[in-house]
C-alpha cells in the first residue's frame, strides 16, 4: 500500500519536483528571451548604423584653371558660378588615371565621386576666390556605391555587370588606396545637413530641427494644460457626474491608437482650420493632444501621493483651497509631474504615425527654422530612409534610429534621475 506507484506516477513527489523545476526554468527562459531580443535589437542597429558616421573620401588634385572658371578675368564671384565644375572634376580624375579612355570608362570613373562634388567645388571657390588659377589638393566625398564597397557592404562574388561597383572602379580604388589618396573620415555632414536624394549627402539635422520645433509646441501645450486639468480634477472639483465623465474620457484617450489622433489633426486642423500642411505647429498640436492624457494621469497620481496631512495643516492655518494647492501640494508633487511629462514627451518623440497623416512625410531639403516651415521629424525621416531603395540609406536609417534612441535614453534617464533625487516617501 505504501508503494508510490500505487497512487500513480502523476502524483509522485519526484515527478512533481521535476515539474516544479521545469516550470521555474520556463519562467527564467522567458525573461532571458526577452533580454536576448533586446541585445539582438541593439547590436543589430549599432552594427548597421555605425558605418554612417564615417564616409569615404578621395583626394584629388583639382586644377581651378583661369580659362574654365573666369575666362574674362572679371574676378566676380557671380561669374564663378557659371563655370563647368563637372568638367573640372572629370579633368582631375583623368589626370590621375591617364590610361582611362572611352565614354563608358570615363563615365564609371566619374561615378566614383559623389554627385555633390561639383557643388563642393563651386562653394569652395566662393569662399576662396584667390584659388582661381591654381591647383589644389582637395578631399572629395566618394559616391555612395564606392563608400559601400569600402565598408564591405558590396560583395565581389557577383558577376561584374550585376554589381553597383564594377571591376575597373575597384582597380582605381585600389590604386588610390596605395597612393594614400583614399581615407575614411568622420562624417560631419551627417550632423550638419538635411535630407538629400544622394545618400552620401543626406544628413539628420533637418529632421532633428523639425522634431525639436514640434516637441516645443507639444510641451508648451500639453504641460500647462495637463497640469491645470489635473489640479482641477484632483484638488478643486467636487466629485460629480461631470468629473467622472472627464475621467473616463481621459482614460480612454490614453488608449486610443496614435493614428486616430493623426486623422483628427487632418480633419480638424488641416481641413477645417486650414493650418499649414507639413508644419511643426500642426504636428505639435496633434502630439500635444496625444500626450495630454499621459501628463494628466501622471500629475494626478503624484498629487494624490502628497499626504492629506500637508493639506490639513495648511487649511488649519487659514489657507484657501487654491493656496493649499499652489503653495504646498503642487511644489511637493512637481518631481512626479516632471517625470510624467518627460515620459509623455519621449513617447511623442518616437511617434510617427500621426505625423504621416498631416503631411510631415515630405522630402524636405531645407532645414526648418520656424513653426510653419515644412518639416519632417526624426522618426518620420527614419521611415522615409527605410523606404529608399539605395543600399547606402540602410546605414543612414540605422544611424538615424541610433540618434533617436540616444535622445530617448537621455530623456528617460533624466526622468529616472529626477525621480530618484526628489522622490519622497511619506
Amino acid at each position: 500500500m505504501n508503494n508510490p506507484n500505487h497512487i500513480g506516477r502523476k502524483f509522485s513527489l519526484a515527478y512533481r519536483y521535476k515539474k516544479e523545476k521545469l516550470f521555474r526554468f520556463y519562467g527564467l527562459l522567458a525573461s532571458i528571451i526577452g533580454l536576448i531580443f533586446l541585445v539582438i535589437f541593439f547590436s543589430n542597429l549599432i552594427g548597421k548604423g555605425k558605418g554612417a558616421f564615417f564616409q569615404t573620401q578621395i583626394k584629388l588634385n583639382i586644377d581651378f584653371s583661369q580659362e574654365v572658371i573666369d575666362p574674362n578675368r572679371t574676378g566676380d564671384k557671380e561669374e564663378f558660378l557659371k563655370a563647368n565644375y563637372g568638367g573640372i572634376l572629370k579633368d582631375a580624375l583623368l589626370k590621375r588615371f591617364p590610361s582611362v579612355s572611352g565614354r563608358k570608362d570615363t563615365r564609371s570613373l566619374k561615378k566614383i565621386i559623389g554627385q555633390g562634388g561639383i557643388y563642393k567645388l563651386s562653394d569652395l571657390l566662393q569662399e576662396r576666390p584667390e584659388w582661381v588659377g591654381t591647383s589644389q589638393e582637395i578631399w572629395m566625398i566618394a559616391s555612395d556605391d564606392i563608400d559601400m564597397y569600402i565598408k564591405g557592404k558590396i560583395s565581389t562574388d557577383v558577376p561584374d555587370d550585376m554589381r553597383r561597383v564594377n571591376d575597373k572602379q575597384i582597380e582605381w580604388i585600389k590604386q588610390l588606396e596605395q597612393s594614400g589618396q583614399l581615407r575614411t573620415a568622420f562624417n560631419a555632414m551627417f550632423f550638419t545637413s538635411a535630407d538629400s536624394r544622394e545618400p552620401e549627402m543626406a544628413g539628420i539635422l533637418g529632421a532633428v530641427m523639425g522634431t525639436a520645433l514640434t516637441l516645443l509646441i507639444t510641451l508648451a501645450l500639453s504641460f500647462p494644460v495637463g497640469v491645470m486639468a489635473a489640479i482641477y480634477l484632483e484638488e478643486l472639483s467636487k466629485k460629480s457626474r461631470f468629473t467622472d465623465f472627464i475621467e473616463i474620457n481621459i482614460n480612454n484617450l490614453a488608449a486610443v491608437p496614435s493614428i486616430v489622433f493623426g486623422l483628427l489633426g487632418l480633419a480638424v486642423f488641416l481641413n477645417v482650420f486650414h493650418m499649414p500642411r507639413s508644419a511643426p505647429v500642426v504636428g505639435g498640436c496633434v502630439l500635444a493632444l496625444m500626450t495630454l492624457p499621459t501628463v494628466i494621469i501622471a500629475t494626478r497620481s503624484s498629487l494624490r501621493a502628497v499626504p492629506p496631512s500637508i493639506r490639513e495643516a495648511a487649511r488649519g492655518l487659514g489657507a484657501s483651497n487654491l493656496q493649499v494647492v499652489m503653495h504646498h501640494v503642487l511644489p511637493l508633487a512637481m518631481p512626479g509631474v516632471f517625470t510624467g511629462t518627460i515620459i509623455g514627451m519621449s513617447r511623442a518623440l518616437g511617434e510617427s504615425a500621426p505625423l504621416l497623416m498631416i503631411g510631415m512625410v515630405a522630402f524636405i531639403v531645407d532645414i526648418p527654422v520656424s513653426f510653419d516651415d515644412p518639416a519632417t521629424a526624426l522618426p518620420v525621416q527614419i521611415y522615409l530612409w527605410a523606404d529608399s531603395p539605395e543600399k547606402a540609406f540602410v546605414e543612414k536609417t540605422a544611424a538615424g534610429t541610433l540618434i533617436l534612441l540616444l535622445f530617448l535614453i537621455l530623456m528617460n534617464s533624466l526622468a529616472v534621475i529626477l525621480r530618484k533625487k526628489y522622490e519622497k516617501k511619506w
Binding site: E20, L38, L45, P293, I296, S352, T397
Partner: protein
Amino acid sequence: MGWQYILIAVLFLSFAGYFLGKKKSVQSTNGDISQLRSQPNYHGFYILLSVILAPIILIFFWYIFEGFFIREMVLSALPQEAIKQSEDLTYGIIKAIAQGVKTVKDPLSLLPEAAVHYNALRESSNLILTILAPALAVALFIRSWKKIGVNFPARDKVEKIIGCVLGVASFIAILTTAGIILSLLFETLRFFNLVPLSEFFFSLEWSPQLAIREDQVGSSGQFGILPLFTGTLLVTLVAMIIAGPIGLMSAIYMSEYATSRFRATVKPLLEILAGIPTVVYGFFAAITVGPFVRDLGATMGFSLSSESALVAGGVMGIMIIPFVSSLSDDVMNAVPNDLRDGSYALGATQSETIKQVVIPAALPGIISSFLLGISRAIGETMIVVMAAGLAANLTANPLESVTTITVQIVTLLVGDQEFDSAKTLAAFALGLFLFVVTLMLNIFALRVVKKYREAYE
C-alpha cells in the same frame, strides 16, 4: 502688425497692471496694510488676469478662424468658372500669387484680382485685430482698476478666475474625444453616401484604386473591410502568440521566483522594449527579420516573401512583451502572501501554488493585460506599414503578406488627396472602425478588472 506683437503689448499691459494694482491697493489703506481685505499682490493678480485672458482668447480664435473666413470670402467672390480645379488648389494658387511667389501670365485670369482681394482682406483683418485686442485690454484694465480698494475681495475673485481656467483646461479632454468622434463620423457618413454599408462590411474585396477613365476594368473600387480585418487579426494573433507566453512566464518568474535584485534589473530592461519607437521596430522587421525569414525559407526550399504577417506580428510581439509582463507582474505581486502560505501548508509545490492559487486570483488583471496588449497590436501602425505589405489577401496563412486597417489608412492618406473621393473618405471609415474596436477592448478590459477583482484585506 503680427499677432505676436499684439500679444506682447497685451502681456506688457497686464504685467504693468499687476504692479499698478498692487501699488493702488497699498495706497488706498493709507499705510496700514492690515486693513486690506485681500493681500496687495492679489489685487495685482486680479488686474493681471482680467487684462490678459480675454485678449488672448480673442487672438487665439482670430488666428484659427482668420484663414477659414478669408478663404470663404475670397472663394465666394470668385465666379464659379474661375475655379478650374478643386477649391483647395485654386486657393493655393491665389495665396502664392498674393505672396508674390507666383505670377500668372494669362491676362484673362481672375486669379490676380482674387489675390489682391486676399491681400486686402488679410490687411483689414490684421488692422481690426491690432485695434480690437489692445482696446479690449485697455477697457478691461480700466474696469478692474476702478474696483481695487480696501474692501475689494480680490483673492476670492482671483481664485474664482483661476478655478474657471483650470476647469476649462480639463474640458479639453472632452473636446478632444468629441473632435475625434465628430470628425471621423462626419467623414464616414460622407463615405457611406458613396459606398453602401453592406459593401463595406460584407464585401470580400479591398481594392480602393479608383479608375482614371470611366470604362476601365474594375473602375469602381472595392471597399470591403473583411480582408483588412482578418489581416489585422492575423498579425495580432501572431503577436500575442509570442508576447503572451513570454510575457506571462517572465511575469511569473519575476514576481514569484526571482530575487529582488534580478527583478530590479530585468524589469526595467524589459520595459525598454516598450519604449523603443515603433518605427525602429518597423525598420528592424523590414531590414533584418524579413530577409532572415526569406533566407531561412529559401534554405528549406520554400519561397517566402520578406513581407508577411509572421514578420510583422513577430516583431510586434517583441514590442508587446513588456505590456503583458509588467501589468501581470504587478497584479501577481498584489496577491497576498496568505494565499500562498495556505497552499504551501497543504503541501503544494511552488509551481502548483502559482498555477492553482496565484494565477486564478490574479486572472482579471492578467486578462486585462492581454486585452490591452491586443488593443495595442490592433492600433499599431508603423511596424505593419513597413513589414506586413499592401496586398489585401483574405488568408489565414501567416507566411503570406497581408494588410491591416492601419496600413490602409496610411496608404490612402499619404500623398496626394482630394477630399471628395471615396478613396480618401474610406480612410476615415477605417479610422472610426479602429477607434470603436480599440475603445470597446479597453472598456472591456477595465470592466473585467473592476468586476472580478478580489478585494483582499
